[in-house]
């Protein structure tokens, strides 16, 4: 962790931006801020940060909020990864941003240390799943009802291992604890989580698309 991770903070509340800025630890370097969709796209293209901390609800642009920022900014900043930050604790809300390409989501109630850790995880190419998002994934893929993928290529269901990992995350385990519990390496846990994230982004399961479409305000 020699060099700080460059971050652009996108949130329409300046109080929140400055609060978050003060809270993040020295691993993270905030290089830019933006308060709406259009300025966010510009800022990301200009600074090309490693990670963008992105509020789900944003004014401006076509009204698409955080998801719109991702879809417009990512072609102009190919290396940048997005981490959704939401005041909402309902995961349905975040599915739209995840499907647009965000690498995970955390709630705004998280402490500065938690946010910093999540930024580092995302910068390292891995996904960040909160317990609630894991629970949502289990629900959306019908894992609780016993549906299971037969092959790794299948996008609409989780494999047995992915389901185990998701269940442990939903129970509040960190990646390290999941690894210890399942006797696998942290890297393997991260691989599973990334695979689930990919399924979440690419799956055409009816529930997912429906939720993404009629995404409610919160």
């Amino acid at each position: 962790m020699s060099e700080a991770i460059t971050v652009v903070v996108v949130d329409d509340h300046s109080i929140f931006r400055s609060g978050l800025r003060a809270d993040l630890d020295e691993r993270v370097l905030v290089v830019g801020e933006a308060g709406d969709v259009d300025s966010a796209v510009t800022a990301v293209a200009e600074h090309r940060p490693q990670v963008v901390l992105l509020d789900v609800h944003l004014p401006g642009g076509q009204g698409g909020g955080g998801a719109e920022v991702i879809s417009r900014a990512s072609p102009r900043a190919p290396g940048t990864r997005f981490l959704a930050l939401s005041v909402s604790d309902s995961a349905e809300d975040v599915v739209g941003v995840i499907r647009a390409g965000a690498r995970g989501y955390i709630t705004k109630g998280s402490s500065g240390a938690e946010v910093s850790r999540a930024v580092a995880t995302v910068a390292g190419g891995d996904a960040v799943f909160s317990p609630r998002l894991a629970g949502f994934v289990l629900d959306a893929f019908g894992a609780a009802a016993g549906e299971q993928a037969q092959t790794d290529e299948e996008l609409d269901r989780l494999s047995a291992r992915e389901r185990e990992v998701m269940r442990l995350i939903a129970r509040g385990y960190s990646y390290k604890e999941v690894a210890a519990e399942l006797f696998i390496s942290i890297k393997t846990v991260e691989t599973h989580v990334s695979a689930v994230l990919r399924k979440l982004q690419l799956s055409s399961r009816h529930e997912l698309t429906a939720w993404a479409l009629e995404r409610r305000l919160l």
Partner: protein, 335 residues
């Protein structure tokens, strides 16, 4: 010359308040002292003579008064009850008239009878479809009102979301997770959120929402932050033994561990699992003295008696405590 026999006492010609069509036949039969069926047959027979019966019936219906209600004068008179709704009488009359007018029209070819025929058919159609159309209209209006109200609510929610909820979130992470201020802000946020999105969620009697409520209550009293995640369809009732054991475990976590506590509820088709996990100093079931009944009785014992199982152990990596409650789906009919 014998004396003229006294005229039999005649019931006045009145239509009863409870009738099949107009009450004319019954009223006439009572007045004349005949049988009702006789009068009805006469009406039917004379109707064939160019509709004389029908015309006579209609004339009597419009001229003969309705009898007074028997109830006391202060109460409002009960409405006249028709066993065949007037609407259908009207529709039938219009259809009969239409058929008659059709014959007349074919005979004479007059414009007037043609118009009359069209009018009769139209009236019959209105009689049939009218009430349905009115109801449809009312439903449409109700729907619209509801939608407008929901839109207003969503607008207000959006506004509050952008201002108050953000501020509350900020207070929470600036004040530190388990401080007093953060707890109050969190409770306030939860309350506001519930109020804003009331009606969006499901009925509140299932296990998951019950435990969420309980978590909110505990957060007010203890320095603890609960993260309740529910997965799958939980058919478990909040009054069940599982819920009671889960609440006990949550209370223990709040009291002895504090900090972040995860509650995970998984309801599959065959079983219900609840995990309560804290990051406190840990807990060794074997070292608890005999007289401490909390865990042994209210969690493990309670689950066993109800036909499920409860285990208390160290959390992952030896940190904190994890309580696991399990119920098989088939055996959930308690007592």
């Amino acid at each position: 010359m014998s004396s003229i026999p006294a005229a039999p006492h005649r019931v006045p010609l009145l239509r009863p308040r409870e009738c099949v069509v107009g009450g004319v036949s019954v009223g006439l039969a009572r007045h004349l002292g005949w049988r009702v069926s006789t009068v009805r047959w006469l009406f039917a027979a004379t109707s064939l003579l160019a509709g004389a019966g029908i015309l006579f019936y209609a004339w009597l219906w419009s001229t003969v008064p309705v009898e007074e209600p028997v109830t006391d004068a202060r109460a409002p008179a009960p409405p006249i009850r028709h066993r065949i709704p007037l609407r259908w009488v009207g529709v039938t009359a219009c259809l009969v008239a239409a058929v008659v007018l059709l014959f007349v029209w074919e005979d004479t070819g007059g414009v007037a009878s043609g118009l009359m025929f069209t009018l009769a058919v139209l009236l019959a159609a209105v009689g049939v479809l009218g009430p349905w159309a009115i109801r449809l209209w009312h439903e449409l209006m109700a729907e619209r009102t509801k939608r407008v109200r929901e839109e207003e609510r969503a607008e207000m929610a959006a506004h509050l979301h952008d201002s108050v909820l953000q501020t509350l979130a900020l207070i929470q992470n600036r004040a530190g997770a388990s401080s007093e201020v953060a707890r109050i802000a969190r409770a306030q946020e939860r309350e506001l959120r519930e109020w804003l999105y009331a009606g969006v969620g499901t009925a509140d009697s299932d296990l998951a929402s019950d435990l969420k409520d309980y978590a909110a209550a505990l957060e007010l009293d203890y320095a603890v932050r609960f993260d309740v995640v529910a997965v799958g369809q939980s058919t478990e009732r909040s009054s069940g033994e599982l819920a009671a054991a889960a609440r006990e475990a949550m209370l223990n976590a709040a009291r002895h561990a504090g900090g972040d506590v995860s509650v995970y509820i998984e309801g599959s088709t065959s079983a219900v699992d609840v995990f309560i996990r804290d990051r406190g100093p840990g807990f060794d079931a074997a070292q608890v003295p005999e007289h401490r009944l909390g865990v042994r009785e209210s969690i493990i014992g309670r689950m066993r008696r109800a036909g499920g199982s409860g285990t208390v152990g160290r959390g992952a990596g030896g940190a904190g405590t994890e309580v696991h409650l399990h119920f098989d789906g088939g055996r959930r009919d308690e007592q």
